[in-house]
């Protein structure tokens, strides 16, 4: 029989408690249990980055972490970052440059980009390409993604957000 564990996770600022099957991946928990469908599953073994979420402030792959491992921790998803306004400038830059097509990779791309913007304010264009190289986008050819992140990096630096 499957084992269940009572698990409490602060998701986008709100604590939620559920009995969770031990084998449930974090991304499946977010999608199926909480209806936070902005995080996507695509390769389901940590390659493509579509399930990228933030746990205690660091991005990781929602398909490589079990939900029970997030017990007592803080998880932020694209929905949370959108509602808080944390990445509004980044989303606007992506919109303006059409740095997305089908949008399936986009939440993961934005989560990764926000970590770059936060942790690597001096990144060059090549370093942006390198940092983003764990997020697969099959539609855009990446150039507009890199352009958008670069533009936001410059703008945040100018406005002192970095």
């Amino acid at each position: 029989m499957e084992e269940f564990f009572e698990t409490t996770i602060t998701v986008n600022g709100t604590p939620v408690t559920r009995r969770v099957a031990a084998r449930t991946h974090l991304v499946d928990f977010l999608r199926e249990e909480l209806g936070l469908t902005g995080s996507h599953t695509a390769c389901e073994h940590g390659v493509c980055g579509a399930c990228t979420v933030r746990v205690d402030g660091q991005i990781l792959r929602g398909c490589l972490m079990l939900a029970v491992q997030a017990n007592g921790r803080k998880v932020d998803t694209i929905e949370g970052l959108s509602d808080s306004g944390e990445i509004r400038d980044l989303q606007a830059a992506f919109h303006e440059r059409n740095a997305l097509q089908c949008g399936f990779c986009t939440p993961g791309v934005l989560m990764t980009a926000q970590e770059l913007l936060r942790d690597r304010p001096e990144a060059t264009r090549d370093e942006i390409r390198e940092f983003m190289s764990g997020n697969l986008c099959r539609c855009t050819g990446y150039q507009a993604i890199i352009d958008s992140i670069e533009a936001v990096l410059i703008a945040r630096r100018r406005t002192g957000r970095l």
């Binding site: 996507h40 059409n98 949008g103 390198e130 099959r138 050819g141």
Partner: protein, 807 residues
């Protein structure tokens, strides 16, 4: 833009679209040609899109499939009884049970003479003909429970000889479907009268064989479907990640025996398609059948391994091509012999004969030779099926054409750009009929070539290349001219008997508030259909673009049409939107003329209001038109009926296909010690006629180029001799990531098609069509001084080292 004043180190180069002149305009003006960000991107940016797997319905059941582990095997025993008793399991079915609800199909078309394929079932009966073919379906309350139950399926197999090689299949010692007589699905031969003579008289004949690996689309969202049968109504609502909802409506109707009007297909957000999601898949048909059988909603979402095993694959060609030319560099003739393998079935309903057929149609396409011979063999094998994936046949035709053209240029000691200039069809030669029979309305090869050479500073790069070679740095420059099929008429499928619509429709409706709703039969997979239709609609009606809402992807709501494939959405669906918008405007002006007591001819719609055409003075806001038309028609003249919606359809008729043209260039550096190739830069000059939204067009081209780069450098579905897929995961099957691709410069020449008022041709596949040929030629240019050459895609480090005789 703001970042122009940014610190030097990070200031980006002005992008190509900012440097070039705005595209020429046709009769349509306003938002046509403007880089309007698309409204529907906003929900995707907040993770608030809705893909099929995001949907839940009451009593939703989940289906998973038990699939053949063998490439070719008879099912000796299939016992589902233990699986049925597992926790949460609702039902388990074999192929026979499903077949009682879903009739089999045959993937042939009348105009592909002689094409043959056996009947195919939703779930295989008796025999599996490729690894991954579904032989049983398990339905449970959750997906995890269904997957758990899979291991309790008891199957015994009798392995049959697997035919995996193309030549082996052609030779036919083992015939996969004995009732067909041989392994040949489709064969085509053509020859112009003087082709023998041209080869005999040529000063130079060059020949080479090119190999094209099997690869696949890798949509980030896997195939997914949620079928919801309502027994009381005998109706079926299907939420599906598909490019062609009306085609699927017809197919569900006919194969499940449900009246067409009782079937509704809805595509919400689709996570990439690229041709992968325009075909009939057995597991998706089975899901719909199971919904009928269980009288409840059922969902299937392919996982990544299932995607690699069962999403259509593409390419896998081996093509020998010969070129005859004069010593002064005039091409006289092409001779093609193409062999391609498609798996055990021709895919329904578009068939798997189309890609090879396209290679025959398009090889040599940019050039003005008059003689051509082609032979095509399309054979069955025991691997996964292949079918139409982005750019269908074009990447093959372009690479082998451009590859052999470079060989000829080198033999003659001519610069590749100069050799092309001597042979590209002149820009004033149109309309033009190519020896394969295809007709070009108007192309711009020479303008594109000139623009490309200037854009990339071809002469400067050649000088730099020569200088670097003296230092042992091996850079290469590759060119690839191309033509591309877009805006297909019924000549593509309809004439062959397929119920696939080549026309599209649009309904444009004025809302009471003065806003405008546009419903179109074209679908949105992220390419920007909704966005450009809003631009066209706003322009046609005379409203601002933020006043337009676009609805696509619902057979219950939109006019009937083909959907998204063959680069047709903008050119065909866009023209329907334009004409519907103009019709609505005319109707608005009728009402305004009646209200204002004015002559209709003196009125115009501008800036969300009816105004005086001559002075621009606002006379009646559209909100007022809506109010009167819908709520106070009693105030209108007795015989006047307001018609505040209009529907129009459009089909290209004059030409079978509206060809586009373009040329790409690639700059690479080969590390001759490791075999690694670094792509330094890529350029594309493309002529897709009227550019509706440069931002979206350029992004389509870039994304397409990157998929082409994937084909050239990384992507291949590797099979063992026994027909086992060896790399069915994203860790093993490599696709381009940010670090693998260079910046790509895009520019345009604009030759609108005269067949439509909009003048738009297609653009979605051009990048993929040309990139592999350009990259191949660049690599071979880099290797040329070392006497090495590669012709088998993908150009892996191993293949390059082998060419250099280092391994």
């Amino acid at each position: 833009m703001n970042e122009r004043v940014a610190p030097e180190r990070l200031a980006p180069e002005p992008r190509a679209e900012e440097r070039k002149a705005p595209p020429a305009q046709t009769a349509a003006t306003g938002y046509i040609g403007a880089s309007v960000p698309r409204a529907n991107a906003k929900r995707l940016l907040e993770g608030r899109g809705c893909y099929v797997d995001d949907l839940k319905l009451p009593r939703l059941a989940h289906v998973v499939f038990f699939r053949s582990p063998h490439a070719h095997a008879r099912i000796r025993k299939l016992d589902l009884s233990r699986a049925r008793t597992q926790p949460g399991v609702l039902a388990a079915f074999d192929g026979r049970a499903i077949a009682e609800y879903c009739s089999p199909w045959v993937g042939v078309l009348g105009h592909l003479k002689g094409i043959k394929s056996p009947p195919q079932h939703a779930v295989a009966i008796e025999r599996a003909c490729s690894q991954g073919e579904a032989v049983a379906a398990i339905v449970a309350e959750t997906r995890a429970q269904a997957e758990d139950a899979l291991q309790h399926v008891e199957a015994e197999w009798e392995e049959l000889p697997a035919v995996t090689g193309m030549e082996e299949a052609l030779a036919g010692r083992t015939v996969i479907h004995p009732e067909l007589g041989d392994n040949i699905c489709f064969r085509r031969e053509l020859a112009t009268e003087g082709v023998e003579q041209a080869f005999a008289a040529a000063d130079l004949v060059v020949e080479e064989t090119f190999g094209f690996g099997r690869h696949t689309g890798v949509t980030l969202e896997g195939r997914s479907i949620l079928a919801d049968y309502n027994a009381a109504e005998h109706s079926l609502t299907v939420y599906q990640a598909t490019q062609a909802p009306h085609m699927m409506q017809d197919i569900f109707s006919r194969h499940l025996g449900i009246p067409e009007a009782n079937v509704r297909v809805i595509c919400k957000d689709v996570g990439g398609s690229f041709g992968i999601k325009v075909h009939v898949y057995p597991d998706e048909m089975a899901t719909a059948a199971i919904s009928v059988m269980l009288r409840r909603p059922v969902k299937f979402a392919a996982d990544r391994l299932e995607s690699f095993l069962t999403d259509i694959h593409a390419r896998e060609h081996k093509a020998k091509v010969r070129l005859a030319c004069t010593r002064d560099g005039r091409i006289l003739a092409f001779d093609l012999d193409d062999l391609t393998a498609i798996g055990p079935y021709s895919v329904y309903p578009r068939t798997s004969g189309i890609e090879g057929n396209q290679v025959v149609n398009l090889t040599g396409g940019p050039y003005r030779h008059q003689e051509y011979r082609a032979r095509l063999n399309v054979v069955f094998t025991n691997k996964n099926v292949t079918c139409q994936y982005r750019a269908v046949g074009h990447p093959v035709a372009v690479a082998l054409t451009e590859g052999i053209v470079d060989v000829a240029a080198a033999k003659l000691g001519l610069d590749p750009a100069e050799f092309r200039r001597r042979n590209l069809i002149p820009d004033d030669a149109y309309p033009y009929t190519f020896p394969s029979g295809i007709k070009f309305e108007k192309l711009s090869h020479h303008q594109c070539l000139d623009k490309l050479l200037a854009l990339m500073d071809y002469a400067g790069l050649r000088a730099e290349q020569a200088q670097l070679r003296t230092r042992g740095v091996y850079r290469g420059i590759g060119l690839a001219a191309m033509i591309e099929v877009t805006n297909p008429s019924p000549a593509f499928y309809g004439v062959g008997g397929a119920r696939i619509s080549a026309q599209d429709g649009a309904t444009v409706r004025l809302e009471p508030s003065g806003m405008v709703t546009c419903l179109s039969s074209v679908t949105e997979q992220g390419q920007g259909t909704d966005g450009i239709f809003a631009q066209i609609c706003a322009t046609a009606v005379g409203v601002s673009v933020d006043q337009v809402r676009v609805i696509t992807g619902d057979t219950g709501v939109t006019p009937y049409g083909g959907g998204t494939w063959a680069s047709r959405g903008a050119g065909i669906g866009g023209e329907a939107v334009l004409q519907a918008g103009k019709a609505l405007k005319s109707n608005i002006l009728d009402l305004a003329a009646a209200v204002l007591g004015a002559d209709k001819a003196t009125l115009e719609v501008r800036d969300n209001a009816v105004c005086d055409k001559a002075t621009g003075e606002s006379k009646l806001p559209l909100a007022e038109v809506g109010r009167i038309g819908y709520f106070r028609p009693d105030t209108l003249p007795l015989k006047f009926q307001a018609e505040l919606s209009a529907t129009r359809h459009y089909t290209p008729r004059e030409y079978a296909f509206t060809f586009t043209n373009g040329i790409q260039a690639s700059l690479v550096e080969v590390d001759t010690d490791t075999g690694f190739v670094r792509l330094l830069k890529h350029w594309c000059v493309e002529d897709c006629g009227t550019v509706i939204n440069p931002l979206l067009v350029d992004e389509q081209i870039r994304g397409g180029i990157v998929q082409g780069i994937g084909a050239a450098m990384l992507e291949e579905c590797l099979y063992s001799a026994e027909g086992q897929l060896l790399n069915g995961s994203l860790a093993d099957y490599l696709v381009p990531m940010t670090g693998d691709v260079p910046d790509i410069e895009v520019a345009h020449v604009c030759t609108p098609t005269r067949q439509s008022e909009l003048g738009a041709k297609g653009v979605g596949e051009a990048g993929t069509a040309g990139a592999p040929g350009a990259v191949m030629n660049a690599i071979n240019d880099a290797l040329a001084p070392l006497g090495a050459r590669v012709t088998d895609q993908p150009f892996t480090p191993e293949r390059i080292l082998k060419a250099l005789k280092k391994v």
